[in-house]
């Protein structure tokens, strides 16, 4: 700012200008120091009380504010201290008495007009002497600047210290400083809420921490830990099922931990002994996600196979995925061997080559060699993929089961042999087999022999399936080997005695069992005939089987279970009685079924309307925001799983927290939140109440309509007759 002039060369005017600039600089430094010392700390504190934040941004803002204040102070100091030449001369003469008033005189003569009374010679002499003396003055020595610089440095340090203290107070004791007013110091205030969600160990997911959330999402089984800092004595915690008081675990710190089981909420209400009223409440919604079951499917070969020989290997490709992670992937098979009603089953597992696309999606490949599994025509192997996720105790998920069958002469793949029910199984009936056989006979002349044989083979398979249904329906195999018609009509008493339990159940009553056995035998013969494309005998056997089935399931085969002992009938339970004892029965007028959910939602909507109406009309809007959090809690109590209810609760909570001082009139953003919440509540109610009936027509309109009707009706019935008046 100040530039030193070389001694002995400057005129008295240059020296005075130099002095003026130096004095102005000193004034600016002192102004900045004063501003930093007295003005900035107050402003910084005030702004922090309003914004209620203490972070990096507030530091930057505080620094900028200090700079602005210092700049303003410097400008004011410069403006106040900047002297003119006369003032500079006077100040310099005061500091340097040896100048003997020369500079003041020179400055006055310099300002005086040339026609003044002073002699030019005198003017010149004074000027010369003033220059001579002024050249010996060093303004830097006369007006030292170092003290002002030190003052500014000290002020800056004080400012930084004050700002740091304010930030420290705000961050360390937010409950006190955030309230913003003396009255709020006594209020119970929740400073912040930290929610830590620890997913179940098997998920291997990271712990998620949220600060002051309005909604927490957690996987089922997660541990949710709420850490609340507040200047209160007790924290009242409200959950979906209970309300309890929580004591502090440390100074001003409350910890509540729970396992996420179902959708719900956590309401936090501060309670302090020093104040009658509770402070601002918090409501945190809890959305619980369930761990979905994994999915698996066989992508190749994606169909059942009927192989002509077993000298091949099937390459089975499997895809599996899970919402979190796939745990295991296996390919299982079941070997089915045998014929007739004698099958043997053996289980096995194939080695699987797994490729992990990601933790959630796996693909697998297994080689299924058929040679050791399919040894006889008609043998088959059923294979399926089995997958699990990492959830403990989770059930295994199986893919659709596919089969590979070694073709028998004329055989078809046993569709639906697997455990899952096949619709065709129920669609097929003996009557259908008969109809198909009749159609094939009708088409026999137009079909090529090979084609005819193929279709006959398919029919043979269907006949076997129908037969198998009856075999299985009756409880398995018929052990008695009956051959020929005679054998079927003559039952072995030993076998019958062993089947006494079935007889008691009515499933093997003699005639029915005989007929069913005959039907099964006829079906077997029909299947054999169809295998050789011998259609006419096959049709005869099919019809015979149908007749036997009708005999087996005739109405007289139904058994009525008789009472095993004499029992007294309870006549009061029978709609009988003596007519004379009957009288007119008077009952109470039934009350309608009022839905509790509907009643609760109506009450919530009414309270919300009342709150907003009171807020709009109260002087200055002095109502607190806590009722909105209460209302939000009630919404979640009605239906915590409903997305609409969750949205409404979030909006109400946000609206309640939008004016924490509870002295602010409803602003536009808050009103928008409340409007949206009210619309959501209405939509929740809309589906539960019927629409109101439309307004009735006016009395005159009804009378007129009736008169017209009757006039027209009378005219139609008997022309000439007068209409009847009501």
């Amino acid at each position: 700012m100040s530039v030193s002039l070389p001694l002995g060369t400057a005129s008295w005017r240059d020296v005075l200008r130099h002095v003026g600039r130096r004095l102005a600089t000193i004034g600016a430094l002192r102004g900045a120091a004063l501003a930093l010392l007295f003005v900035s700390p107050w402003l910084v504190n005030g702004i922090m009380m309003v914004t209620r934040t203490a972070n990096a941004r507030s530091w930057i803002a505080s620094t900028l504010l200090g700079c602005v204040c210092a700049g303003l102070g410097a400008s004011i100091g410069w403006w106040l201290a900047c002297p003119n030449l006369r003032t500079s001369a006077v100040l310099l003469e005061q500091r340097v008495p040896t100048l003997q008033n020369l500079l003041v005189t020179a400055e006055e003569l310099d300002r005086a007009p040339p026609s003044s009374q002073a002699e030019p010679a005198m003017r010149g002499l004074i000027k010369q002497r003033a220059d001579h003396h002024a050249a010996r003055v060093d303004p830097a020595t006369v007006f030292p600047i170092a003290s002002s610089v030190r003052a500014l440095a000290v002020s800056s340090v004080v400012f930084v210290a004050a700002t740091a203290a304010a930030h420290y107070r705000m961050s360390s004791a937010p409950a006190l400083t955030r309230a913003g007013s003396a009255a709020a110091i006594d209020a119970a205030v929740i400073a912040d809420v930290t929610v830590q969600v620890t997913p179940p160990a098997y998920t291997r997911q990271a712990v998620v921490t949220q600060h002051d959330p309005t909604r927490v999402e957690a996987l089922q089984g997660s541990r949710v830990r709420f850490t609340v800092r507040a200047n209160i004595d007790t924290l009242q915690v409200t959950t979906r099922d209970s309300t309890f008081a929580l004591q502090p675990s440390g100074e001003g710190v409350f910890v509540y931990e729970a396992v996420a089981v179902a959708d719900g909420f956590i309401g936090l209400a501060p309670r302090a002994a020093r104040t009658q009223n509770g402070g601002e409440r918090r409501l945190i919604g809890l959305t619980v996600r369930t761990d979905g079951a994994p999915r698996v499917r066989i992508v190749a070969p994606a169909t059942d196979l009927l192989v002509p020989d077993a000298n091949r290997t099937l390459s089975v490709r499997v895809q599996a995925d899970d919402d979190l992670a796939v745990g295991t992937l296996r390919v299982m098979y079941t070997k089915v061997a045998g014929s007739g009603e004698r099958f043997t089953f053996s289980e096995g597992e194939l080695p699987v080559q797994i490729a992990r696309t990601s933790g959630q999606a796996w693909t697998g490949r297994a080689e299924l060699a058929l040679a050791p599994l399919l040894q006889e025509p008609g043998d088959l192997v059923v294979y399926r993929a089995v997958v699990t996720d990492n959830r403990p105790g989770a059930a295994t998920i199986e893919s659709d089961a596919l089969i590979a069958e070694l073709a028998a002469p004329g055989g078809v793949a046993a569709l639906g042999f697997a455990l899952d029910p096949d619709e065709d199984r129920y669609a097929l009936s003996q009557q259908m087999v008969i109809q198909k056989t009749e159609r094939l006979i009708a088409q026999r002349s137009t079909l090529a022999p090979a084609q005819l044989a193929e279709q006959a083979a398919q029919l043979s398979g269907e006949q076997r399936r129908v037969r198998a249904e009856f075999v299985f329906m009756m409880g398995g195999e018929f052990a008695q080997q009956a051959t020929g018609e005679e054998g079927m009509m003559e039952l072995d008493e030993t076998e019958e005695a062993e089947s006494e339990a079935d007889l008691a159940a009515g499933r093997m009553v003699n005639r029915g069992r005989t007929a069913l056995l005959a039907a099964v035998r006829a079906m077997s013969r029909a299947a054999v005939a169809l295998t050789t494309a011998d259609l006419t005998p096959a049709l005869a056997q099919e019809r015979r089987a149908l007749v036997q089935l009708q005999e087996a399931f005739a109405r007289n085969r139904f058994l009525m279970r008789a009472l095993s002992q004499r029992e007294q009938l309870d006549l009061t339970r029978r709609l009988t009685g003596v007519r004379g004892g009957v009288a007119t029965q008077g009952l109470r007028v039934p009350q309608g079924e009022m839905s509790e959910r509907q009643r609760a939602l109506r009450a919530i909507l009414a309270d919300l309307t009342d709150y907003v109406a009171a807020h709009n009309t109260a002087a200055g809007g002095t109502l607190g925001a806590s009722p909105l959090v209460d209302i939000a809690t009630r919404v979640l109590q009605v239906d915590p799983s409903s997305p609409v209810a969750q949205r409404v609760a979030t909006q109400l909570t946000a609206a309640g927290q939008r004016s924490p001082s509870a002295r602010v009139r409803v602003d536009l953003a808050k009103q928008a939140s409340l409007d949206s919440a009210a619309t959501g509540l209405t939509s929740m109610l809309r589906g539960e109440v019927r629409p109101s009936a439309p307004s009735s027509r006016s009395l005159d309109a009804r009378r007129l309509q009736s008169a017209i009707n009757e006039a027209l009706g009378a005219g139609r019935r008997s022309p000439g007759s007068r209409p009847r008046t009501p």
């Binding site: 007519r579 009957v582 009288a583 007119t584 029965q585 008077g586 009952l587 109470r588 007028v589 039934p590 009350q591 309608g592 079924e593 009022m594 109506r602 009450a603 909507l605 009414a606 919300l608 309307t609 907003v612 109406a613 709009n616 009309t617 409340l674 409007d675 949206s676 009210a678 619309t679 509540l681 209405t682 939509s683 109610l685 809309r686 589906g687 109440v689 019927r690 629409p691 109101s692 009936a693 439309p694 307004s695 009735s696 027509r697 006016s698 009395l699 005159d700 009804r702 009378r703 309509q705 009736s706 017209i708 009707n709 027209l712 009706g713 139609r716 019935r717 009501p726």
Partner: protein, 614 residues
Amino acid sequence: MVSDRWLRVALRSCAVLIAMMAVIDPSTITSRRSQPLVSLVATDPLRDSVVLRQAREALRERFTVIDAPLSSASGTVVVGARVPEDAQALASPVVVVTPTSAATQVVMQRIEAPSRALLQSRVTVQVSLSLSGVAQPAAARDVIVELAQLSSSSDALAEALVVSRERVALRGDAVLRVPLTFVPSRAQATLLRVRATIDGSADTVRSDLAVDVRAAQWSVLFFDRRPSWMSTFVRRAIERDPRFLVTSRVVTSPNISRETGRAPESLDALAASSRFDAVVIGAPDALTTRDVGGIDLLLRSRGASVLLLADNPNAGPADRLLDFGGWRSAQRSVSSALVPLTIVGTPTAGSEPLRLLGRSVGVPTRLPLNAEPLAALARDTSAPAHRRAAETVIWRVPMGVGSLVVSGAFDAWRYRDSAQSTFDATWRDLIERAASVRPAVIDVQLSRTLIGPREQVSVTIGAPLVPTDASGQVSLYAVARGGGVEQKVQEVAVALSGMDGALVGGFRAPRTPGTYVVRVVRGGDSATAPLVVANGVARDAGANRDVLDAWVQSRQGRRVDRTAVGTLPTVVSALITNPARLTTWRPMRSAWWIVPFALVLGAEWWLRRRRGDA
């Protein structure tokens, strides 16, 4: 000197002359043209305040502007887009300044809402919207329609909460009906405001309405002369609905019946004192002749709503009431053995369509004249009207002041599976509709239930079921907030109109905003209707340019746009006549005669003093 003397004499004479004139008080007749009076009114002063101020400034130089309706004015200038409420009090000619601009605006053509609703129901407000000032009619604009609940605890209405909001695409060449839903939460007169705004525009049209929400129940009687499954299942559906209070009697065998509540013994006894909103009769083929006579009396004298639920096509004595020629079976389609029925005109905007199923369905051989179909065979909804009438299964016929609903869905009760049929909802709606059309014993209807202070209200009292005098009075009570005692505000005189049994009257709304009740007492019966007086009631709906033009034309006036406000003095001058008026002038009744009197006396005194006289 001589002239000075004569001057003093002249001055003294003038003074005496003035004094004599003051005593005599002479008068004269003059012809004058004064500045004409123009009455300036606005239909919505708050919203059109700018145009109102511009019109006032333009008129002030050439007219004396009165900011109020004035029947003795030379003319009236109306600022607004609709006919003012007090149009009869305005002086002709009328010049209307429409505040609409050339920009596209949404027009609220009509608002349909029930004037009364039950607390247990939801209210659907249908808003008909169109656009004006559209350059490209085919282009659609996004319009936000909102239904807000108002609070009237202060003098002016204030919007409390938006309870329903819809965003619709509105074309310039179409009228769109937008349903808005309001679920009442308290039994009181509820104030609602409909707002419509083109998305991105600041202009909003608003209209306020009041719905009288009552915590009442529909009183329904079920009467079965023999047990009927159809009636039983309908009754069970109604009993579960809290909107209904069900009384029933099922005659199970001679002299033995099952009764809930105080159900009447027979239908002929019912007609004398029935207060049921609806009477549902099962198994109508089992009715006796006396029962049918009772129903006839019930319909014509008590204005009842009667529903006949037939469960077979057998003829009976009730057929003479129906006048339909007997039942015939509905044709079933080949593909389905069940006959679906759709409910016609179901007031369930925004909800699922109502549907019944039946295997045995009867249709009338001859649909009664002016029968209103309520349900028809579903396959026949697109058929021509004459064919559709033949396939009507449920219909309603007005009889006297009552109405009779007849159902031919004989076995719809068998197919109540909620996945296929809306059996319960259908019968609840049909019975509520029937109950709601039953005329009240005393029906009080106000021309408006939400009005501004001192606005004109007309009241119509229909009392078809009680004898009425040729004149009478109704009372207007102020309703105290918080359940206090009502205070009578005024009596309103009503007189018999030309209509049978109807009393009409009119009154001005109280000056003080608040909630009032119009109460009518006739004998032992009474009826009430709410009246809400508030400042700032919005009425943008129903602004019809054609009606406005017709009204202006009938008042020998003109309509000008807001952009032509500057030409208003010229337009008004051309329309009104300002003839010269002969007026009587009495100069000495003006106090100004003192001034010349004092001047001449003073001058005469000064002259005397100058000469040295006393």
